[in-house]
């Protein structure tokens, strides 16, 4: 394995030896076609929980689960669902689904993948007594509310019924035509029998049915690396094109970048902010910029006096028009983001960049001033509560762009604004959840599954889990429900976009830009591509 090779000794003796041995380095394979025998070393982060699909809610563990497990469907590079374990997913009313599994699919321990593998795993995930972090993914299934209520001891959802080994039915509590789109998300993966008897132990060495499996018992060396090898039993669209993927765990991207440019790391999925300006030079043609389903916004809570009511709405619009998205994405992100035109993301089916109201997201300092003055006429701005934009300083690099937005607003509207850093993520989250924020909040969303509804329902419907702005608009809620209940996803998308028009008018949050994955790879690999969600398609990477 590549990075386990002995490092050259750093001593006077080695300096002498270095000049002699330097010629021996490098690859001696000729660049012939595709090499599927290579083990690919990629950057990862330490999974925060045992690798149980329903208890993993962060990217570090998610990347591993996506390779070790296969759900009913998976997503192709564009985000279109393709059948994995499912033979068919059928419905007539978008509310009652009959799911038939393919024959002869097994887990890597030899157990068959049956209807119960799914139903038991989902029930486990939903039940409050198991405290699974991704529990809310099952909220559409009938009986979820009983199982997931605080303190509930109910272990199963009434909507799930096993018909036979290869068939089960799902009843939703309301029609949702985009529900099958969700089934490729990791929370919906099946588990082999017995996995849930001791989840903590299973999560250390998970047994799955996906394109890869753990190289050996204990392949997860905590905070160091996770070694995966292809699962030879797997047949499907994500078949491994290499001899294994090793996730090397890094504490920060800057360090990983140093390893990338010295060929100790094969694929880096995020170029660190400090190297945004020079990575294209450093890497020659070994980099990619790939838009993915994620966005960045600034949520402004309605419980703030200045930002509620009719005057609040005008002020929100003024604020939005005072931000020069084009310039910030160019200068600060070196075009590594694209200015937002609405509330979802461009890689999704149904995305439209010229919805009525999208002009509210265009830079227009004159109109911003006018709108602000209009709002002043209605109700004077309480300067005792100057606007702040809260962000967390421990993860991600938000300071630079928040400052840029602050300057935009200051210069164009002449009001007092400032960035408000919080030391830790949990601190700012706690205030958001308890609705005690004293200003706006940097926010954003990364799709769990490729659907417009995923960008609207969980964030802007009344009482939704991530509705940090506390936006309450019954008309909007009704539109979203209507869109979900549409007979097809396409028909639903139109309704979703109508719902978006309300958001563009009200601006519970100011959409800023869409995320673009910026990654790079070493001289040892090729065929590196990123998926719709900004994660490299690990299975497709080949050696040189």
């Amino acid at each position: 394995m590549r990075f386990a090779r002995n490092s050259k000794i750093l001593s006077v003796a080695a300096i002498a030896a270095f000049t002699l041995s330097a010629c021996g380095g490098g690859s001696d394979e000729a660049a012939t076609g595709e090499n599927t025998d290579a083990v690919i070393v990629v950057d990862g982060s330490e999974p925060q929980n045992p690798l149980i699909p329903t208890s993993t809610n962060e990217v570090g563990g998610g990347a591993i689960l996506d390779l070790v497990f296969a759900g009913l469907v998976s997503y192709d590079a564009e985000g279109a669902p393709q059948n994995e374990m499912a033979e068919s997913i059928e419905t007539e009313d978008a509310q009652n689904y009959t799911i038939t599994l393919k024959e002869g699919k097994t887990f890597t321990n030899g157990d068959p993948v049956t209807a119960s593998s799914f139903v038991d795993a989902w029930n486990y995930g939903a039940a409050a007594k198991n405290a699974q972090l991704s529990s809310y993914f099952f909220e559409s299934i009938a009986g979820y509310d009983e199982a997931a209520a605080e303190g509930s001891t109910v272990e199963t959802m009434s909507g799930l019924t096993v018909v036979d080994d290869r068939t089960f039915t799902v009843a939703l509590s309301q029609p949702e035509s985009d529900w099958p789109l969700r089934l490729g998300y990791s929370a919906f993966y099946p588990l082999p029998e017995g996995a849930l008897a001791d989840p903590a132990t299973f999560g250390e060495n998970p047994v799955g049915n996906g394109p890869y499996k753990f190289a050996a018992e204990g392949a997860w060396q905590h905070n160091q690396q996770i070694e995966l090898v292809p699962n030879d039993e797997y047949e499907g669209p994500q078949e491994a094109q290499n001899a294994g993927v090793t996730f090397k765990i890094y504490q920060n991207d800057t360090t990983a970048y140093q390893d990338l440019i010295s060929d100790n790391l094969d694929v880096l999925k995020t170029i660190p902010t400090s190297d945004i300006k020079n990575f294209k030079n450093d890497l020659g043609d070994r980099w990619i910029e790939s838009p993915y389903a994620g966005n960045q916004t600034i949520a402004i809570p309605y419980y703030l006096e200045n930002w509620d009511g009719e005057a609040g709405k005008l002020r929100r619009q003024a604020l939005s028009m005072a931000i020069n998205r084009e310039e910030i994405t160019d200068v600060i992100f070196n075009k590594g983001r694209t200015p937002a035109k609405e509330f979802t993301a461009p890689v999704l089916d149904g995305f439209s960049e010229d919805l009525p109201g999208s002009e509210n997201l265009e830079y227009n300092p004159e109109q911003a001033k006018e709108l602000w003055a209009e709002a002043e006429a209605l109700e004077p701005y309480d300067t005792a509560e100057p606007l702040t934009i809260a962000y967390n300083a421990d993860k991600g690099d938000h300071k630079t762009w928040v400052e840029a937005v602050v300057n935009n607003i200051k210069n164009n509207l002449g009001i007092e604004v400032s960035g408000k850093p919080y030391a830790t993520f949990k601190e700012v989250r706690t205030e958001a959840t308890e609705q005690t924020l004293t200003g706006a909040l940097r926010s954003g969303w990364q799709a769990d599954y490729p659907s417009l509804a995923n960008f609207l329902g969980p964030i802007y419907t009344t009482g939704a889990g991530s509705n940090d702005a506390v936006y309450e608009n019954p008309e909007f809620d009704a539109k979203v429900s209507e869109g979900l209940a549409a007979e097809s996803v396409e028909a639903g998308n139109e309704t979703m976009n109508e719902a978006q028009e309300m958001l563009l008018e009200d601006l519970p949050a100011l959409p800023l830009w869409y995320q673009v994955a910026q990654g790079g790879w070493s001289t040892d690999v090729e065929n590196v591509d990123f998926g719709w969600n900004g994660v490299p398609l690990y299975y497709a990477i080949t050696g040189k």
Partner: protein
């Protein structure tokens, strides 16, 4: 002497209790709800939050939480961190690496610091003296992360003498560069301390006496001057061991070393009380032991100091 050591060990008990209580309280008082860190960007449902609070005793008041932790500690059960992993296992994983790194850094700063300091002190005002003084000033003035990234880039990336980062279970040679970076600032201090101490002692009466007795220059310098000059240096090195063990966060981050410093940093960010307290307590014990060792070394260095 044995009685003295025994007494010093007895002192560890109140230190230990006080430290755990204080640190536990500090972590408890950190703003923000620990479950918010576990739930991440998406948040959890109220049912899940309630389950997590129960699992990690977060719904209990401070005293109960602390006593539950102490109870576990006395039965040699450090509990689990917020990822559900046993804390004892995590410490066993990260501690050897950091110990290796810290000892290497300590050896580096002691050997080179004392040697350079000795030569500089003996040749006070000469070219060598002036140049190491300037160099050490630069080292002290430049922040460690600048030095770290610079050396990583030059030696690891540009020259390729070593990999820019260390592997999971780092070898001695892999840790050389991180250890040098980690020990660099202290090296400058040791150098300056030694130099000053030597200059002071070299004109002392007993040195003149030793020279007058006809002892060789080498014997005078090594046995009389150097040995007597070591007391402030040893004090510094003892205290520095503790700092190196827990304070290697920056260096560990730059070279991707899976060590105590980074583990502690992550635990603080997540408000992972039991994890933070366990690591800090562990560091305090090491610190106390290192100080005990320093005190014993005094007696060896200066026969006038006696412990009874």
């Amino acid at each position: 002497m044995a009685w003295y050591i025994f007494r010093r060990f007895l002192q560890l008990i109140p230190v230990f209790l006080g430290a755990t209580l204080l640190v536990y309280f500090l972590v408890f008082s950190l703003p923000g709800d620990a479950t918010a860190a576990i739930c991440g960007e998406r948040g959890c449902t109220p049912g899940v939050v309630a389950g997590l609070r129960e699992q990690y005793n977060l719904d209990e008041p401070f005293w109960i939480q602390y006593l539950l932790y102490l109870k576990g500690l006395l039965t040699f059960d450090l509990g689990t961190n917020f990822s559900g992993r046993p804390i004892a296992v995590i410490i066993a994983e990260v501690f050897p690496t950091t110990a290796k790194l810290a000892l290497m850094a300590l050896a580096f700063e002691a050997v080179f610091g004392i040697a350079f300091g000795l030569i500089a002190g003996m040749r006070k005002g000469k070219l060598f003296d002036s140049s190491v003084l300037v160099l050490s000033l630069i080292v002290i003035a430049v922040p460690i992360f600048v030095l770290g990234f610079l050396m990583q880039f030059l030696i690891g990336v540009k020259l390729g003498w070593t990999d820019p980062t260390v592997s999971g279970d780092p070898t001695f040679t892999e840790l050389l560069l991180p250890a040098v970076v980690l020990g660099l600032v202290s090296f400058a201090y040791v150098l300056r301390l030694t130099r000053t101490s030597i200059i002071e002692n070299i004109s002392a009466d007993y040195v003149r006496t030793a020279t007058a007795k006809g002892l060789s220059r080498k014997r005078v310098v090594v046995v009389h001057v150097l040995r007597n000059s070591m007391i402030p240096v040893v004090t510094f090195l003892g205290a520095d061991l503790g700092a190196l063990m827990g304070g290697a966060i920056v260096t560990e981050g730059i070279f991707n070393v899976n060590g105590v410093g980074l583990t502690l940093y992550r635990a603080v960010l997540n408000g992972d009380g039991p994890m933070v307290v366990s690591i800090v307590t562990f560091l305090i014990l090491i610190f106390c032991l290192a100080n005990l060792l320093v005190d014993l070394l005094y007696a060896w260095l200066d026969p006038r100091i006696r412990y009874a």
